[in-house]
């Protein structure tokens, strides 16, 4: 008997018992739908976590000075004074670099009228707001001309706004005094809140890096260079280019340790992503258990079906069916049952995923590979759990089967 004839026979038998076939399929339908929905939610969540980590600055590459040894004691990274704004300028010419900003930090007392407050002064470039993705709340940010002229202008974080100007009102246009130098407030930043490390990101005052170096630190070096790659994919190559450029500029010969360190946040993104993948597999594993339960349901019904149709089997044998034809028939029935269940399950999985993303506003993503995996696995379940009943049917003795009441 041909393959198509066998499949047709199986379909006929299943259609003859519509309600029972549907109920039997239900286990597989639910199992496959559960796999699809959980994987879709899991992988959607993973993507969204990755995206938000990227938004936090996974494109960001941080260059710090290296360590130096002073009197036998080694300072940590950042101890050396080797990075200059010129290094940063050189980096802007590299392909894949979107923006560079030096960072010079000074922790000091700031005075405004009768109020004073200790805070961190950050000397940065105008590109800083772009690199950090940090918009202004009011006023303007300083420009390249302000850098060139080492202008005495400042942009305040919200914490400093409330501490230095407690009476309310717009601080823009007012003066603050830092280490005896008056700075004019030209803008304020939006509130960022706490960082993931628990520090108050709003407790900062931004000034042009040139002003910070000349008027506050008196040094020619910076504490950090912040480099933003054009895309997350370019981070690794940009990191390599930056390293090579600095080695060249700092005349570091091969074999000597670098006097700087280049880091990025990709490892954090990778960790978050792999955590998501583990969760996804866990959920899919739970869903797969329901597939196996569905398979046992199929075996149960096929056993009932074989017993119930013993006379039919005897008849088919007396009409010339070989044992192998009977085996194929029942095996095909259970496989068709579970495969059709799998396909219906995929449909329900798509619907379920859609409903979840609509109602819970949860990002979802259906991975195509999992769809094929789920349907293929459910068909395998049908073959595996259908084999025993089919075998039982094929081994029936035609006379006993015909006489069966």
């Amino acid at each position: 008997m041909s393959f198509m004839a066998t499949v047709r026979l199986a379909l006929d038998a299943l259609i003859r018992n519509k309600v029972r076939s549907l109920l039997t399929m239900l286990g597989i339908v639910i199992g496959v739908a559960a796999v699809i929905v959980t994987v879709a939610i899991g992988s959607g969540a993973r993507t969204s976590v990755t995206n938000s980590i990227n938004a936090l600055g996974s494109n960001l590459i941080v260059v710090q000075p290296g360590s130096v040894t002073q009197g036998g004691a080694r300072t940590g990274f950042g101890g050396a004074s080797t990075l200059t704004p010129a290094d940063g300028m050189a980096m802007t010419t590299l392909a894949g670099v979107a923006a560079v900003s030096p960072l010079v930090t000074v922790r000091t007392q700031v005075v405004s009228g009768a109020n004073n407050w200790q805070t961190t002064i950050s000397g940065v470039a105008p590109t800083y707001t772009f690199i950090k993705g940090w918009p202004l709340a009011s006023g303007t940010f300083f420009t390249d001309e302000d850098i060139a002229s080492s202008a005495k202008v400042a942009v305040l974080g919200q914490t400093d706004v409330s501490e230095l100007f407690p009476g309310g009102g717009d601080p823009v246009g007012q003066n603050i005094i830092v280490k005896g130098v008056p700075f004019t407030v030209i803008g304020t930043l939006t509130a960022l809140g706490q960082s993931s490390l628990g520090t108050d990101q709003d407790d900062t005052i931004l000034v042009p890096y040139s002003s910070a170096m000349q008027r506050l630190t008196g040094q020619t070096t910076v504490s950090q260079l912040m480099v933003s790659a054009s895309s997350a994919a370019l981070v690794d190559s940009v990191q390599t280019e930056v390293t090579q450029l600095l080695e060249q500029r700092h005349r570091i010969v091969a074999g000597q340790p670098d006097d700087f360190q280049v880091r990025n946040l990709q490892s954090i993104a990778a960790a978050a992503s792999s955590t998501g993948a583990v969760m996804e597999f866990l959920l899919a594993g739970v869903a797969a258990v329901s597939l196996i339960v569905g398979g046992i349901g199929i075996m149960n019904i096929m056993m009932v079906s074989v017993t119930e149709r013993t006379r039919e089997i005897g008849l088919r044998m007396s009409l010339g069916a070989r044992g192998s034809s009977i085996l194929r028939q029942f095996l095909t029935e259970s496989t068709v049952l579970s495969a059709v269940g799998g396909i219906i399950g995929v449909l329900f999985g798509f619907i379920g995923t859609f409903v979840v993303s609509m109602l819970a506003k949860w990002p979802t993503q259906i991975p195509v590979a999992w769809v094929f995996l789920a349907v293929g696995f459910s068909a395998l379940v049908g073959i595996f759990f259908g084999y025993y009943p089919a075998r039982k049917a094929a081994n029936l003795n035609p006379i006993d089967a015909l006489r069966f009441e």
Binding site: R16, R311, L319, G320, R322
Partner: protein
């Protein structure tokens, strides 16, 4: 001409627990092409066992059995299935049609196992349904038919692979007298007009009288074998 069935010293012994039941005890029988033979006997006489072995549904404990000249006493299950598929037709007491399956599909079933191409199956099935006079029931399921109609469909099914022998096991056992006569008339006509060899197993003497030759079993042995001197003339055939 090769005998359809040639059986010598056929024995069949069943072991049930520790007791041995001798169902057939040295049976000799030859059926020539075109015969219409009735196997009679009370229940337990061995006639059903004889039919099952003749129909290659079972194997004998010992003895020789040649079907159409071929030794079939010790064939494998698959080989017996193939002979059943191509050379034998069965008609059962309880019709044994597949439920919720049209008469046409029921009649096509043996051809599916014999590997007849799909295009030929429908044509042959309709042809045979016409021979037994139930063409108009082709699309009906068994539960939409009377017992007599179902048995006609079953006869049509037994005909589709042009069998060398039709085995009819109590074909009228579930039918009333009138319908029994109709069914027997069809079998008689198939034998008379198309020369199809038929072996009828029955315990009803009235029904056996349609056959040309009467064989009686008792206690696993043949106790009488001879031509039927009082053959029924078929009633008018209800088509």
């Amino acid at each position: 001409m090769t005998a359809v069935v040639h059986i010598e010293q056929l024995r069949k012994v069943y072991t049930i627990g520790e007791t041995q039941v001798i169902a057939l005890d040295g049976v000799d029988l030859t059926i020539e092409p075109g015969e219409f033979i009735a196997i009679m006997g009370p229940s337990g006489s061995g006639k059903s066992t004889f039919m099952q072995i003749t129909g290659l549904l079972d194997t004998p404990t010992s003895g020789r059995y040649a079907f159409e000249g071929k030794d079939v006493a010790n064939l494998s299950a698959d080989d017996r299935a193939d002979i059943r598929s191509r050379r034998l037709g069965f008609v059962f007491q309880s019709y044994n049609l597949l439920a919720r399956t049209s008469a046409l599909e029921n009649v096509e079933l043996p051809m599916v196992y014999a590997g007849v191409p799909e295009v030929d199956r429908k044509r042959i099935a309709l042809e045979k349904l016409a021979i037994v006079g139930v063409s108009e029931l082709a699309q009906h399921a068994p539960n939409q038919m009377s017992g007599g109609q179902q048995q006609r469909v079953a006869i049509a099914r037994s005909l589709v692979n042009n069998p060398g022998l039709i085995l009819a096991d109590e074909p009228t056992g579930a039918l009333d007298t009138k319908t029994s006569d109709d069914v027997m008339s069809i079998l008689t006509r198939l034998n008379d007009e198309q020369g199809i060899t038929i072996m009828l197993v029955t315990h009803e003497p009235d029904i056996a009288l349609y056959a040309k030759r009467l064989v009686t079993f008792r206690d696993g042995k043949i106790v009488s074998d001879g031509p039927n001197a009082h053959r029924h003339e078929p009633e008018k055939i209800v088509a």
